[in-house]
Symmetry: none
Subunit: 190 residues, 2 copies
DNA sequence: GATATGATCGTAGGGATACTTT
DNA sequence: ACAAAGTATCCCTACGATCATA
């Protein structure tokens, strides 16, 4: 993802062409510029079709990268990489970074429920970032805004800027054994 | 100045259209979007809007006050009711009533794109509740908080309590020809 | 300084409720 | 004066950039 700076008026023009809740700038601009979008969002695909498509492209991409064959095979054979638990549309629908953050973490947990506890070691100078209880996080700082990772017994600290949330994701994915390339992909989901 | 986040590929597309050393993003985008560099033009109609407009005028000409028969025929022949466009999980995921409200309206629009314009007649004492543009709603009151109904050319007024939002849904569903029982089901989705 | 981390506080959305109009 | 209907203010919560601190 890249950030560009544009003037107020142009910004309003883009915003006024939003066609879906939570639609991002890229999607709007691609429509306005009549560029192909990688994901066709208006097509009435059902869930199975979407999943099939996403998995296909995932395998394709990973298979092309021969330095990481071992890990790729492990993930794809067990079917347990985060990418199998990520729903792009659900992500896109989130109002802010916190929603996406939690969704990505939930996917990581679902893919690695047993190893997930290693993320517990990721923390700041004083503050804990991940824990099993809300209270632990609250006790480690002020206004940590703990949130439960959906469908998991873990909690995360949420009071940080987006940069730090990305860093947290990066560390978590790395701890769980993802390759540099996949870590990057995960980070960019936020 | 505003910052927007766009994907890598789109960024490259924009960069590759630079026409002067040091040209900024706004300037490039304005050229690509064919926007005047001094005065904001009104947003060009998108495909949906154009289609809706054409369809609307057709309906107007052919069936001015026989809307109901039209609808009944549509139900029985095509079997396209809102319930085919409602995704319960998506609904449940919404943070507040506004999100659900918009999703339900979007489903109603998808099920009845041609007849949907009848909802335009639903309004309060001064405020318009539904319209084709944000500006119309804004002009009809203060802080009306207009929101676009996703994937549709319609906008709704959003600054009301939940009770009124339910009422709006009830009226909309009724106008579109749903039975008392189905109207009730739709209302309760919110 | 320079860097890393913390957490305050400005901003925006949501919608109940107090207020206004009929 | 009272009620009903409708409006929009304003309080609350969430988010996360930015400034404070180590």
């Amino acid at each position: 993802m890249k950030n560009i700076e544009i003037d107020e008026e142009l910004y309003q023009h883009i915003v006024s062409n939003t066609q879906a809740i939570g639609e991002n700038a890229s999607s709007i601009l691609r429509r306005l510029l009549k560029l192909d979008s990688s994901v066709q969002q208006s097509a009435p695909l059902n869930k199975n079709e979407i999943e099939a498509t996403e998995q296909a492209s995932l395998v394709e991409k990973s298979a092309a990268d021969d330095t990481e064959i071992d890990i790729v095979e492990k993930f794809t054979s067990s079917g347990e990489s985060v990418f199998n638990f990520i729903n792009k549309e659900e992500l896109a629908m989130q109002r802010g970074a916190v929603g996406r953050f939690l969704l990505i973490l939930a996917a990581l947990y679902r893919a690695h429920p047993r190893q997930f506890k290693v993320v517990t070691e990721i923390c700041g100078r004083d503050r804990l970032y991940f824990a099993h209880t809300e209270a632990e996080l609250e006790a480690s700082g002020s206004s940590t805004k703990p949130k439960q990772i959906p469908e998991s017994p873990f909690w995360v600290m949420t009071n940080s800027n987006t940069t730090r949330k990305k860093m947290m994701l990066t560390k978590a994915a790395t701890s769980l054994g993802y390759t540099q390339a996949d870590v990057e992909k995960i980070r960019e989901l936020l």
